[in-house]
Structure formats: structure tokens, C-alpha cells
Subunit: 506 residues, 2 copies
Amino acid sequence: MSKVDLLGRRNFIKGVGAAAGVAVAAPVLAVSEKATDVSWDKEVEVLIIGSGFAGLAAAIEATRKGAKDVHIFEKMPYFGGNSAINGGLFAAPGTPMQQQEGVKDSVEQMVADQLKSGRGIADEELLRHVASHAVEALQMTLDAGAEYHPYLQQLGGHSVARTYQTAVSCGAGITQPLYKECQRIGVKTHNRSKFEGFVLGKDGRVEGVKMRQGYYFGEEDSGKLVYIKSKRGVLMATGGFAQNIGLRMAQDPTLTHEVGCTNTPGATGEGMLEMFRLGAVPVHLAHIQSGPWASPDEGGFGYVSNYSIFNFPHSIAINRMTGKRFMNEIADRKTRADAELACRDAKGEPLPPILITSYKDSKQHPNTAKVLKYNVGWKFDSLEALAKHFEVPLKPLKAQIEEYNRYVNSGEDKQFGKNMTKAKDKYIEAPFTVVRLWPKVHYCQGGVQVNTKAEVKDSLTGKPVAGLYAAGEVCGGIHGVSRLGSCSIPECMVMGMTAARSMMQA
Amino acid sequence: MSKVDLLGRRNFIKGVGAAAGVAVAAPVLAVSEKATDVSWDKEVEVLIIGSGFAGLAAAIEATRKGAKDVHIFEKMPYFGGNSAINGGLFAAPGTPMQQQEGVKDSVEQMVADQLKSGRGIADEELLRHVASHAVEALQMTLDAGAEYHPYLQQLGGHSVARTYQTAVSCGAGITQPLYKECQRIGVKTHNRSKFEGFVLGKDGRVEGVKMRQGYYFGEEDSGKLVYIKSKRGVLMATGGFAQNIGLRMAQDPTLTHEVGCTNTPGATGEGMLEMFRLGAVPVHLAHIQSGPWASPDEGGFGYVSNYSIFNFPHSIAINRMTGKRFMNEIADRKTRADAELACRDAKGEPLPPILITSYKDSKQHPNTAKVLKYNVGWKFDSLEALAKHFEVPLKPLKAQIEEYNRYVNSGEDKQFGKNMTKAKDKYIEAPFTVVRLWPKVHYCQGGVQVNTKAEVKDSLTGKPVAGLYAAGEVCGGIHGVSRLGSCSIPECMVMGMTAARSMMQA
């Protein structure tokens, strides 16, 4: 029987991204095929697409629940996806470290912080589901051997310190232990394996997938097509689309290829697009988050991002035109990114603001040495030298620092209402370390709609698509307009674990 | 050969909307079928789905360009769609009435106003395309016999007066003349005809559609299925999804069935959802506009909406808790809707603000008599009586009116920067007419991505889907976060005309 190919094979020369003039992988996907029209090359028990936090957590959880034949497929040559290069920040309420540090917190408080940042359109039920299971997910990483800094951080938009960070200040501090755990318990992992479409049973159930194995990223004809059937369904843990220039520009025309991006090149979103073709509900694609902690002086997430995330609570961000602060340095990401983008010179051209930190405080973070070494941060012995270097008016800058130091003393920021708890006794004084700030595209709040079982809703029937699950950044709606920092890892892991439980119960 | 039905026929009991507990039409659509698998019942030259502004304008334009066999299919029993009950407001730059009134305007100025309201993510190219052809579209309505009030209005967010309004203050003042014109020139119109899916050629071209004829809205099995082939392609002019409760709640959980809506029951968005299944790019679905001119005292668009749109320039909106103004009465729709929603009593419950107008000015609009007759507006001879009726603190209210009247005199609003041109000499004084304000869901900025040829982009190839066109509210992205009032009719008509030209050239 011949292969069904409703839309025909197009000349797959250029993808959405390429249409914007940027070389990205041209997506090569057909629409869904019928199970009766394909001959299966292989059958597995649990089929997971994507090897980031969500995929890895799902594989481990499925195995714990009794699955014997779990497979992870990853299109890139390396495992870990975009998760491996994120900041390694993990928020959870009610952790042992919070107890040690005397921080009072709860699931409801974390949900309330996230709802605020979501600006009224976050999915409260999903947020509560994730926050309720965050400690459990954190435990999974610890069991797998992940190591964390011995202190909590209070990130922008969080009302208390509740964020763990991996000792390597990077998501790889979690994905690598989870990957090793997968190996240990017998999960089969396949790299260079690109998802190319769903195969459906006659009742509409997702029975399996078409996969291009031996795939080289960017060479769309590379490798060999195989059909893989899955007994318990398919989990799409395929991540966001921050690197799909055409799609992100469709949502926000200002996010051209000239705008920096913290994501891996593989974050192009074909898995999500294919789910829309199956009937998944697109939610919040317009809400694309830029990281306010990034530097224009280095590529991707770089060294500055974690440096500034750590230092924001006891630093001041300065508009170089005025010499004054222009934002609460620990406001939520969208608030800060918007404030930074408004920093312009007299002609309206971007003028990246600077983040000034006392060297004595900044050097507590391991990235400070790297930031200085690679010339993406600078050290100054005097305010005069600093002001001269960045062409900041000295007098207002000096007055601003004196004013801010009074807030450090009083514990009350009368300019922007910043929570000064983590700034206690940390006066801004020479010598200083300074980095430049400019937002980079970081995270897609939008994606397919899922429920608290990680099931994907059909846009016409309103019911879950049988055999299909999704977890992680490929999903949309949970965070609303703006996701709080350190809330992605718990979401990815909890929803990955949730998908595994749903698959094992179905 | 048997019919292809990849997803199988589900038990079509409940749609997305119904899942939210509200009785709406359960969508009954299959995924696309192959032309080789169907037998055509009929072949037409131009096939248009939807009979609002876009569909009607397209039919007339296609005929003008030489089409001999143009068909419009409408799922409801009546023609005109949601367009027939909109406000009948038509913005265009460089019109005869602007010349008469001495208003300087240009395409670029209109585009600039819209870009501002779009908050950085509007589609400038599409906006310019529409503004450039708006006068042409206005002319089409005049040629068909549409009649307009003999004055221009300056609506919220517009920098000048550039808005015509039909003499009946309603979109039917345009759809009815256009419909009659269609009849006159031989366009075939079919009501009770529901689109149920695309039929594709083997090269992926949209060859035709599956249509349920003799359909009764809400009875999904009613009527008879037919396959209709189209020589020049299919235009989807199927409108927005403001009445699809499930889908709008997926984007904004606060837009429950308890929130009012100005749209016809048919605005459920299946046409858009079906295009997503074909691979159209979803854009800006999260941006759903609520009309700030609506009243909680009547259903739908009602009488108050046009009353207040006309009166805002020379009226004051008052927070009943404070007795003070709380917004620029002619700010863009989103700004005002957000400001109104923030009007709450001491317990945080909604407290709809009031719009106070001098009776002498309000009575210039024909709806004033109706508003008073149907008790959705009230007349007061004194401020004391007004304040008592609405439980507004009298002293600050009195002071506010005195202050505002000074702005009327000086021409400068020092509170909210309102453009006072249209308020000249219009002091707020007794007797007063008053209505209550509360936003209602009105318009979906989101939809499928189109280009300036009204072609629909494929999310994977980035190329237009052959044989498929879309126009009107079903499209997304053009207006960005917030559409300016009176900019929908020109968009619908220009893009409908554009689609017709593309079809006739293809």
C-alpha cells in the first residue's frame, strides 16, 4: 500500500526560519500518516522525543513505574537539548535549604508569585500542579547525583529565596546526572534521530512516529526514515522555538535574526508545529520572553547571565544617559527586559545599561573571574574611572549610589520598591565590577495546550488526543505573559514525570 | 474508494466551547481529505466561505475582475456574519469628508496610530497595505449604496478624526448594500452551509471543500454533505472566535462565559482551527480585545456602545469610588478596558464606572433616545441627583467636573493628556446623560498569518498554501496587541478585495 502524503512532498528548500534570510534547519515534515499505510520498523513501550529535562525525567519516572523498554530520541548529536545550557536554576517551595535559611514558603506563595508575573492569564491549575510536585522533582535530580550551590537565591519576581542552582551554574548539572541515571536503569537513548510526523490509528490514536535516524542537523535528507510504534503513546518533549526566526517574527516582528538568543540552534519548534497540524490548541505563542540578565558582549547565555542573576539583588542597574537607576533590579523578567530596551541614546539607538556591583560581593559567584577574564565584564577601582569608561555623568551617578546605599541601610527602596533582604549590609562601594545588559530571546511561553495529566487537547472536540502527551517548553499557557526565572526546570521535570505516570496508567 | 478520515469520526457531542459548560455549536470537522478520494458534487469558479465584510467585498471584486461564477457560503441562516452587528465604523485616511472638515491625514499617519496601539508587534506591511486601499474600499460601499452620517468621528487612539459611520450606526449599513450588490451582479449566495474541511490535490493545493448544506446552527448532523470544487481557490472569510469560550479561555482564563461578548453566536472559529490543521501559522491568539464602550446593562453590542463611542471625546469617565476620572476617555481600547476593569469597590468586586455627558451634546447621537428609553442610560437634572443615584462622592465629583471644564476651556487635559479638539466648547453641565461602562469581549487580534496577497503561509515551508486565501478577523497579527476602533472594516474589505485579485491572477 502506498504511503499517504496528503499535502504532497514540497520542495523542502527553505523553512519558516530560512524565509527570514537566516540559515536554520529547514523543517522536513509530512502531515500525519495512517497506521494502516505504514509498515513498522520497530516497536517500543514508551517513546519520548527530546532529551532535555522533561524527556529525561519522563524516562526515569516511566522506568520507576515499571516500564521495561523506554526510548528517548534526540535530533541533535548531543543529549540534553536546550536544558543542558540553561542556567541550572530550580525553584521549589518547602525545601530543606529553605528550612536551614529560615525562609517561610508554600506552594500557594510560589503560585501567587507566578500568577502575578503571568499578568492574569497564567494557568493556575497547572502552576499548582507543578509547584506541588517540585520538591519531588528536585529529589529526582539529587538521587541522580546532581549537586547544588550551598545557598538559595531570590530571583526576580519571587517573594522569597526559593531557588537552588547547580554547582556548575548550568542546566548540564542536571541533564548529565539524569542522562547517566537513564543509562544505568536501561533507558535506550538515540541521538541524531529527528521526529518527522505522527502515525495515527484509525480511531485517531497516536500509534507511533516517523523518525529520521542518522540525521545530521541542517541536512534534511540525511539519514534514513523508519516507522516506530509505541505501545504506551508518544511524549513530545521537544522544547521551544526561540531559534525559529520566522515563527518568532510572526509573533513579534522586532525579534529579527539580529536579536540575540540564549537557546541551542535546535530550538526550532517543528514538534510543536506538527502537533498543531494534528489539532492541538495553540496558546500564547505571542508571549516570547527575553532574558534581562544577558550581555550584548558575548553570544548566547554566556557567562554574564548567571553572574547578573546572582548579583542583581545587591547591585544597581544604571541608565548611562542619566546616571540613574531605571528599574527594580529584581522585578520579573518582562518588566526588566522592557525597561532595558527603553535605554536609548539621544538618537534613540540602543544604549545598553550597566550593572554595578561591589567587587567584594560579586566575587562570591564563580562566574566573576570568567566575566573579567573574557572581557565581558570590567573592574574599576574608582567611580570616576567607571563613569569615564562608560560615559556616564558622574555627579548624578554618585548621588544615585549614595541614595541607594541609604536604602541598603534602611532596608527600604524608595525608588523602585525592591526587596532589600538579600542586599543587607551590601553597600555599593569601590572597587566595582560592571557588566552591560541587553535582553536576549530566551523562552517561549507559548505552545500546545495541555492539562495536568500532560495530555494534549484537540481544538475541535476539546478532548485529549489519545496516545499523545507533551511536557516542557513545547507546552503553552502555564506561565501566562511572563515566566519567572527558575520555574522552567520544575515545570519540565514535573510535567515529564506526570506524562510518564499518565502513559503507564493509560 | 473509501473516504479518508485520518483522525476517525469522534463522538461529536461536545466542542471546545461546550467543554467549558456553555452550549455552543459543537464543531464537526474532519481533517483534510484527498481530491482523489472524493467525488465532486459541484464545481465553482470562486469559492468564498463567510458573508461578512471580507467575503462580500471579495465576491464583488472577483466579479469586477471577470469572474462569472462566484459563490458565497454562510453557515448561519442570515447573511452578514458578525459584520452585520458591528458598529459600522470605517476609518480611512484622505477622504472627502476629511477635506471638508479640514482634517490633515495620511496613510502613514494612520499606520503610525495603529502601530502605537499594536504595542510594537503589529504587522506594519499589512497595515500599510490596508490603509493605502481603504478609500477604495469605502468607495465600494458607497457605490453599493451605503449611507454614512454627515460628520467624522475621532475614535480612541486615532490622532485625527478619520472615521465614517453608517447612518444606521451599524455594520448592516454596509453588509446589506454589499449583499444586494452581490445579488445584482449575479453572485450566488448560500446560507445554512457549513464548511467542514478542505479537500487537497496531490500537490497539496486546496482544490475545494466539504460543505454541509441545509445546516441548522447547533444541530451538527443536520443537512447533507457535499463536495465542492473551486477553480480559483478557496477564500476563508470566516471571522473570529470570540464566542468559542474554550478557546478564548485557553488564551485568557478570565474570559469565562460570564464575561459579556458583542459577537454573533456563530463566531466560533472552526475555519481558523481547520487552517491550523492544514499548517497555517497561528499568530497572536492570546490577544483578545474587549470593547471599553460596552454596557453591563444590556446584552451584546447593544445601544450603549455606539452611544459612548460617539460621546467619549466630550464626556468624562468617573470611578464611582473616588468621584474622579481614571483614564483618557479616547485612549486605545486596551488601555481603557484595562482601566475600567480596575474600577472595584472596597471588597474588590467590579464597580462599573460611569460616563457623564451633557445632555445637549449626547442628544446629537440617535442612540441617546434609545439608551434612555430602554433604561440602559439615565438623565439627571442635577449633579446631586446623579451622585446620589450612583453613590458617587459628590464633592470630589463636583471638583473633577470643574477641573475638566478648565481643560475644555484651555484645550489641554492636564490629567490624562486627552486630545480636546472634539471637546471644544463642550463643557460638562446639567442636565446630564449617564451610562455605565464595562468591557465585553469584542475582537480577536489573533488568527492565521497572511501576507499582503491574502495568501496563507505554511508553518513548515514558509510558502503560501496553494489555492488558499484568508481575509478579515480570521487572520492574525496585523493589529498587534490592540486593534484601533474602526480599523476592522477597512481591513476586512481591503483584504477581501485583495484575496479576490490574487485569486483572479493565480
